[in-house]
Symmetry: C2
């Protein structure tokens, strides 16, 4: 798990971890904290963790020790059915907080895997609960993050329950685009970190269906796809796909 390092390097690493100097702080758990509060948060979040592409962060069943905030990179989380069926429950990028599903039962309920080299910050959960009792804005931000996760899941349920394949893919691309934009990346050009299979799993479709939908979007001039690179050519057109069926 932990990569062995010389003591001096560890010290440097700890200094670097500070939320207060993190460019993502307004997207992440410490959003809205003042500088004094942020300093207390710094003392809580003292460890980072590097993951190679393909490496898992935690697996279903493991006890909850810390939440994780993505510092850089891209991850997926997968829920598992008893019978081995597995489904991608979400794709996660910088600023997202992972592990919230484990609070209820004390242990994780899904697997998380890095889809590219990824760095995560460890947020010890017991200490977080304690600190959030002292800092109302931290408490509120934690509540907001959990609530937004619920709202996000409701959106996915709507997508899975009542949209056609093309509508699902359009919604997926628009959502990704918007999240990249919120992090300062181009909303019009990005690289998919996941396979067609993983997109399909998330959208409740087979990989062939995803591939065909990509091709049709390209034929209609809505996007340009080459392998994992996507260029959004006609965002209003993609939005229209969502309203088409009324």
């Amino acid at each position: 798990m932990k990569t062995g390092r010389a003591p001096r390097l560890i010290d440097i690493n700890i200094l670097r971890v500070a939320c207060s100097s993190c460019s993502l702080r307004e997207l992440c758990l410490p959003a809205g904290l003042d500088s004094g509060e942020m300093e207390r948060m710094d003392r809580l979040v003292t460890h980072r963790h590097r993951l190679r592409r393909g490496a898992g962060l935690y697996r279903a069943g493991e006890p909850l020790a810390t939440l994780f905030a993505i510092r850089s990179g891209f991850m997926k989380s997968c829920v598992l059915h008893d019978d081995g069926r597995e489904q991608v429950a979400g794709f996660h990028m910088a600023g997202d907080v992972l592990g919230l599903d484990a609070i209820g039962g004390g242990s994780h309920t899904c697997d998380t895997v890095a889809l590219e080299d990824t760095e995560v910050c460890e947020i010890p959960f017991a200490s977080l609960e304690q600190l959030s009792r002292e800092l109302p804005s931290l408490q509120h931000q934690l509540h907001r993050i959990m609530s937004r996760e619920i709202v996000r899941d409701h959106g996915v349920m709507l997508l899975l329950g009542s949209m056609s394949a093309e509508e699902r893919l359009a919604a997926f691309l628009l959502n990704l685009s918007q999240r990249f934009a919120a992090r300062g990346y181009s909303p019009n050009e990005f690289r998919l970190r996941m396979t067609r299979q993983e997109i399909g799993s998330y959208l409740g479709l087979k990989l062939e269906t995803v591939s065909r939908a990509f091709s049709r979007f390209q034929e209609r001039g809505l996007i340009l796809v080459r392998q994992k690179d996507v260029r959004m050519l006609d965002v209003p057109g993609l939005k229209a796909v969502l309203d088409s069926k009324r």
Copy 2:
């Protein structure tokens, strides 16, 4: 909204609201509180609210003022797509807490409607946050409830994303059965409070498909359905439907 009452009746009502004397307290928000803590909870939850069948509790867009705990009855919540499409996001019964989705953005993101005459307790959210800063077990229970909602939603996503119509209905019936059991009702015989249309909306199916699946389950001797009354004849058989596909 509020039903006008004579002062004396209001007093009686307030006395009756107390969490400490509520039979659902171990299923609900105050689960795990000691008697001193429970008393403080009593002071927070001072209002109940009666809903006739068909009446709404809140609608998407309304600002969050209080969470609601179902004291008795049965409700549904519906998420709405921009274009008017609507989907049932959940069915809720005694002990369930409603309104968690509103915390993130400050206003509700779904509509909630009573499917039978229902009583809900009002939990002012700002006061709840304040009290949960003082009572670690309350804080933790709130976190647990939000987390469990996330896990539940993941389960629905799995269902919508990778199960056949029959598997979805079997999972739905088994889940209902288990929740009735947890509340002291028979897990083998219950009355559905929702229409086939609403079940279908929740499961991502059309009402005809739901109806056909019910009929096939009955033909196979798994259940007995007459209108809204269901008797579970072969629970292991229903569970087998879930594992059938592998």
